[in-house]
Symmetry: C2
Subunit: 405 residues, 2 copies
């Protein structure tokens, strides 16, 4: 493998207009050879993509054409919900809702559902880009108290703060956290326990980028609400899953200002049909959940996620500083999104790395987010990336370091 | 044709558990023979469905996997926006936004964007189910004044009210209307003019079920905002198009309570990428717009819509009362959704009609909405239904009337 990817970087003309540097996902290799390391939206497992393609073949009537009130769609909806519940072992006292608006929609929906009054308090644990965005949006709708995990020395998020009794108002309507920060590369491999005197407060979890990649102890961890946009691990953009403990639902619980499409209670009462749900997106999530079940469920998936990320962290840690990653606390390193730089962020080498990757079909490593990650590249290892594909990148990284170290 | 669809209804066992009566879209005919008269989500034109299928074939990298920041997606986005603008002749002083949350999301988004203060007034013209839903949601966010079109005698919506100066507060932030009421079968074939003294007020149009089926005089009609969910005429569920006059955008115009995902200004400033848009849904809208352009644009499409609906209204009007439709004012009859009953709503005949239709592949005529339409069936004739398909239903209806009249 490594012999195959030998290269002579001296022959390479680095240019900022090279497609690889503009984030192109279309290298000149055969499409089936593309490995998509994008932070999302991104590829689904090949088996799922084939199932989607098959659903459009040999048929004059596609699933896109299904009315959300037709029995054919209700079967898809119920199957998808049941499989999520089964695979993720979600207890009966939780409701599953499919909502609109992505993760950002939920940033508003959460306080609007859980804080009836504008003066209600919610506690936000901020340890990266997404929890900060969630907190900022919530400030429109409630009194927000922040537990900030920023490293005061570096100004970066490289840790998860201690959750101490003193920092959590006992009247807080919920404690919010993001279990995987895609930009910062920080992941909670298990949800934290709140201090004993605060365990009456429901935990709200943004699991948009790590749902299905590790088990969740729903009751034990005190999860009140967990949400996941579909476009990382479970589907494609336009759908967000919300799992909510049923005691948090109820007439008059939400703010009177909560838009109907975001109101958990009315959507629950309407069986996910208060307005037209994203029917096809729901079908795709069902395909993904079937695949996950065939692959051995969430425990087996966690093993794969550990293996995929470990093969890359090993290369980084054994590169004698050629590669760097901002998260030194290994317990917090994300299995989903691995930020890394090359020789401390050397621009020319980084460009060469990206172009050589792209020529081999490895795309999505330079991401053009509005949030900025300095000179860091990112390898994202969602459900669509196989162990073999992660190993291909690791092999290439080792080879590149050997040649340019 | 009529000979072909002769039947003996006496051999038919009517039963409420027949799939046709449960809204099944899967008759036993070949899938390519299914004609989908569903009020939406529903079928797209065959050419568009084929293009979608093709996009999944012979490729290991599907459009579902595209990052919204990849140049490949930006090309799709820009092409789609440009084609909508071209086909619908939208002037440069209007912005096009792709939003989440369906039509119901816009019911909240509109007052939240156009009324900065809760005390601001908006005028709602209510002449059917959807304008009533829009009005109800708006009442959370502003002071709503209603111009009600209900027929005081029958309690039904069968007319569009006169828009008189006295009924429109000159300070009103906007005048809202729904240009096609799917449940009630009322359509404005051209947008109404506001009284001259009220023409400074922007018109807000819910065109969810008739966008692309007739030209719009954007400036002349004083359109401030027009929105259309995708799942009727232009795509599939999970995406809503908003066309907004640029002078209605601007920092601090929206209510401070407007969720970011609904905020027109920040989504405009972010070039439709403030959060992850429904990428694949946008691609499908692009396919539809390309198709529309190939079919001769919106003027030619209007001719087809007139022809498709006329062939059915002719059968109804010439059936000597066998078929009835609630909208006697022909000028207001919807070309999109034709509610009709059989012998005044005869249950047994209606069931027989539905079953016979279903056996011939004609589905979606009984719709199980939460709104109720009495004993009325509905034939919906969106862009996915061809003139030939509308004629098939007309032929069948004539035949059924002859045999059972």
């Amino acid at each position: 493998m490594e012999a195959e990817i030998k290269m002579n970087i001296n022959t390479l003309e680095s240019t900022s207009t090279h497609p690889a540097l503009l984030g192109s996902l279309s290298p000149s290799v055969a499409p089936e050879k593309v490995i998509n390391f994008s932070p999302g939206p991104t590829s689904l497992p090949k088996a799922v993509e084939k199932q989607i393609a098959a659903s459009f073949n040999n048929s004059g009537f596609t699933s896109l054409a299904l009315s959300h009130r037709a029995p054919e769609f209700l079967k898809i909806l119920n199957h998808t919900l049941a499989t999520i519940r089964k695979v993720m072992e979600i207890p009966d006292n939780y409701e599953l809702l499919f909502t609109h608006g992505g993760g950002h929609g939920q940033f508003a929906a959460l306080p609007l559902n859980l804080c009836h009054h504008h003066s209600d308090t919610a506690t936000y644990v901020v340890n990266g880009t997404w929890s900060a965005r969630g907190r900022d949006e919530a400030q429109k709708y409630c009194n927000v108290e922040t537990i900030d995990g920023k490293d005061k020395r570096t100004g970066n998020y490289t840790n998860f703060p201690v959750l101490s009794e003193a920092d959590i108002d006992p009247q807080s309507k919920y404690v919010y956290l993001c279990s995987n920060e895609t930009v910062n590369g920080i992941e909670l491999h298990r949800l934290p326990k709140l201090p004993e005197s605060r365990r009456h407060i429901p935990l709200v979890v943004d699991a948009s980028s790590d749902f299905t990649t590790k088990p969740i102890d729903w009751q034990g961890d005190g999860v009140g609400v967990l949400f996941a946009c579909a476009s990382k691990n479970i589907g494609h953009p336009g759908l967000t899953l919300v799992v909510i403990r049923k005691d948090l639902l109820g007439k008059d619980k939400a703010s009177p200002l909560c838009p109907g499409v975001f109101n958990y209670t009315i959507n629950s009462e309407a069986g996910n049909l208060w307005n037209t749900p994203a029917t096809f997106n729901i079908e795709v999530v069902g395909f993904l959940m079937d695949w996950l079940e065939r692959q051995g469920g969430v425990v087996a998936n966690e093993r794969r996620c550990i293996a995929k990320s470990q093969v890359l962290y090993n290369v980084i840690d054994n590169s004698n500083g050629f590669y760097g990653t901002p998260v030194s606390n290994k317990v917090l390193r994300s299995r989903m999104n691995l930020p890394f730089n090359i020789k401390g962020g050397d621009q020319q080498l980084t460009d060469k790395f990206l172009i050589k990757c792209w020529e081999r079909g490895m795309v999505g490593l330079r991401t053009l987010t509005p949030f900025g990650v300095g000179d860091y590249l990112r390898a994202s290892l969602y459900n669509g990336v196989t162990e073999e594909q992660a190993t291909s990148l690791a092999d290439f990284m080792r080879c590149f370091a050997n040649e340019n170290g």
